[in-house]
């Protein structure tokens, strides 16, 4: 999945889970301050994003996310982490 596709998928999930109007969700939207998503919501969000990545999601990968774009980047990295050479 490309980052654009991941973003659209994120918008869909945010809309379904929190009833946020899709037009309010922009890449630069801050999850906590602008979209009112707290640490408890984040757990649900990670569960719902799991199918996109297709493997176990470590909550740590999302520790530093602040914006929707951060989530997209984190997911993108997780999906493509297979391509990285295995550790020696």
């Amino acid at each position: 999945m490309t980052k654009d596709q991941l973003f659209l998928k994120c918008v869909e999930i945010l809309h379904e889970t929190f009833d946020l109007p899709t037009e309010r969700i922009k890449p630069e939207s801050r999850l906590y301050e602008e979209l009112d998503i707290d640490s408890i919501d984040a757990v649900d969000l990670i569960v719902r994003m799991k199918p996109m990545v297709g493997k176990r999601l470590q909550p740590e990968a999302f520790k530093a996310v602040r914006t929707v774009q951060d989530v997209v980047d984190a997911l993108h990295m997780l999906i493509h982490s297979d391509a990285a050479p295995p550790p020696p």
């Binding site: 379904e16 889970t17 929190f18 640490s39 408890i40 757990v43 649900d44 719902r48």
Partner: protein, 255 residues
């Protein structure tokens, strides 16, 4: 004519009694309990019972010295086991009222009370839950409820502003939805407002405070989860319903 100075002095006296009792519990009651009651669960029950009776006495004292008067409605509903009690929070002493009505209640309190020397010992011995951990808080509350405890939460997280505008943190609604636990709403009104967030204790209101404590029918949460509504969305809807309920009822219930 001497009503106001009297109430200022009486309020100060009550505060002194409260602080002294908190310290004495920490020095004279809790340490012997640690020695004599080895079972942690029994110790906690005993500690909660001591706090409950002290709070009953304390409300009686504040009534006796004419700092406040009060009336209770529907409080027999609080005698059932294993409730999730959610109350609005107009004044400093709301938790004292609620705990004085329930012999064995867990409670979510602000973590500052664990650091306060006057409240530290009873709060720790009673196993009250401290409120500054987002996800951990919901888990702690879930554990308490699943073991059949009654849990008291003030979902506003801090006292209601003088404007009366209620805004709720989502922690309590999260507990209700995720544990599928009906909510027992309690509306507290204090007229005229006193011991509110911005009010110093010695700025007593123009007349004796009158508290009304009203316990309502349980609010079931199942309907919020119908047709596969995601939990976070159900939490938001329940929270909004509770918010407007508290705001409207506290206006309606005030004499």
């Amino acid at each position: 004519m001497f009503d106001r100075p009297w109430r200022i002095a009486a309020t100060g006296f009550c505060f002194f009694v409260f602080g002294a009792a908190g310290m004495l519990l920490g020095i004279l009651v809790m340490p012997p309990m640690l020695l004599l009651v080895w079972n942690a669960e029994r110790r906690r029950r005993l500690s909660r019972l001591v706090v409950h009776h002290f709070f009953r006495f304390f409300i009686g004292l504040m009534n006796f010295v004419k700092v406040l008067s009060y009336e209770l409605h529907g409080v027999e509903r609080l005698q059932r086991p294993g409730l999730l009690v959610l109350a609005n929070h107009p004044s400093l002493i709301d938790v004292i009222f609620i705990i004085s009505l329930i012999p064995q209640a867990g409670c979510v309190v602000k973590s500052a009370l664990v650091r306060n020397p006057f409240t530290r010992a009873p709060v720790k011995a009673s196993g009250y839950i401290t409120n500054d951990t987002g996800l951990g808080l919901v888990e702690d509350c879930g554990r308490a409820l699943s073991s059949g405890e009654t849990l008291v939460i003030f979902p506003e997280g801090t006292r209601t502003p003088l404007s009366g505008q209620v805004s709720l943190q989502r922690g309590a609604a999260n507990v209700a939805i995720r544990c599928r636990k009906p909510v027992t709403p309690v509306v507290i009104t204090c007229t005229p407002r006193g011991l509110a967030k911005s009010q110093k204790w010695y700025r007593v209101p123009p007349k004796r405070m009158h508290f009304v404590i009203r316990v309502y029918d349980d609010l079931q949460v199942d309907s919020f989860l119908e047709s596969g509504t995601p939990e976070p969305l159900a939490v938001r809807r329940l929270n909004e319903q509770l918010r407007s309920f508290f705001e409207q009822e506290s206006v309606r219930a005030a004499p």
